[in-house]
Symmetry: C2
Subunit: 123 residues, 2 copies
């Protein structure tokens, strides 16, 4: 049986480390049919999603998050929910967010992000 | 093409209205293979999930939430992310939460909840 919780945890750590270090490198985690909904704005495909993420109006970003929750999905994927905070640039006030992913495996067995929905949580 | 955004919006309204009115009636939205992760505690199947939801330690509950975000999934399902607040019993302080669903269709075409992950957002 797939260790979906372990894969989810490893993916989330890799995703946010990459995001906070050099977010253009997230491109490798998406495919041509991947979808991103970022604050209700939609992007499609690795190139479009990377362009969106790179264009976000901050230079420095740091995500802090709790243990991700994960479940297997009907088609052999993994659904993940993460909640956390992010701090951008020199803002002192962290922003609460939640993000849901569905990971799928490509033909060579590599996991990639098929669905990605990000939303700030208003307090 | 499936109107996934419309189905998501209609589902979310129905789900929270039912939850806030008489949550044992949520049973009809789950199937035998449905999964719930509620604050990292896992339940499986319509009966187990309903038992968990009914046993939550509050009598009155009211969910307030924003427009849900939705995407189609690889197997014809719909992934949904909702963020909002809930107020329980006579608490005056709302609790921020996020919840991610994957809806799938059963053999007769009815949508049901395959994946359900609920998490309070710590502020």
């Amino acid at each position: 049986m797939t260790d979906f919780a372990g894969i989810a945890k490893q993916f989330v750590a890799h995703y946010y480390t990459t995001f906070d270090t050099d977010r253009k490198n997230l491109a490798g985690l998406y495919r041509e049919n991947s979808m991103l909904t970022f604050e209700s704005s939609q992007s499609l495909g690795a190139a479009g999603i990377t362009e969106k993420l790179v264009s976000l109006p901050f230079q420095k970003v740091k995500h802090e998050y709790g243990e991700p929750d994960a479940q297997p999905t009907a088609n052999g994927g993994i659904i993940i929910l993460v909640t956390g905070h992010l701090v951008v640039d020199d803002e002192s006030r962290p922003l609460a967010y939640s993000q849901s992913f569905q990971l799928c495996q490509d033909a060579t067995g590599n996991w990639f992000v098929y669905n990605d929905i990000f939303k700030l949580v208003l307090l």
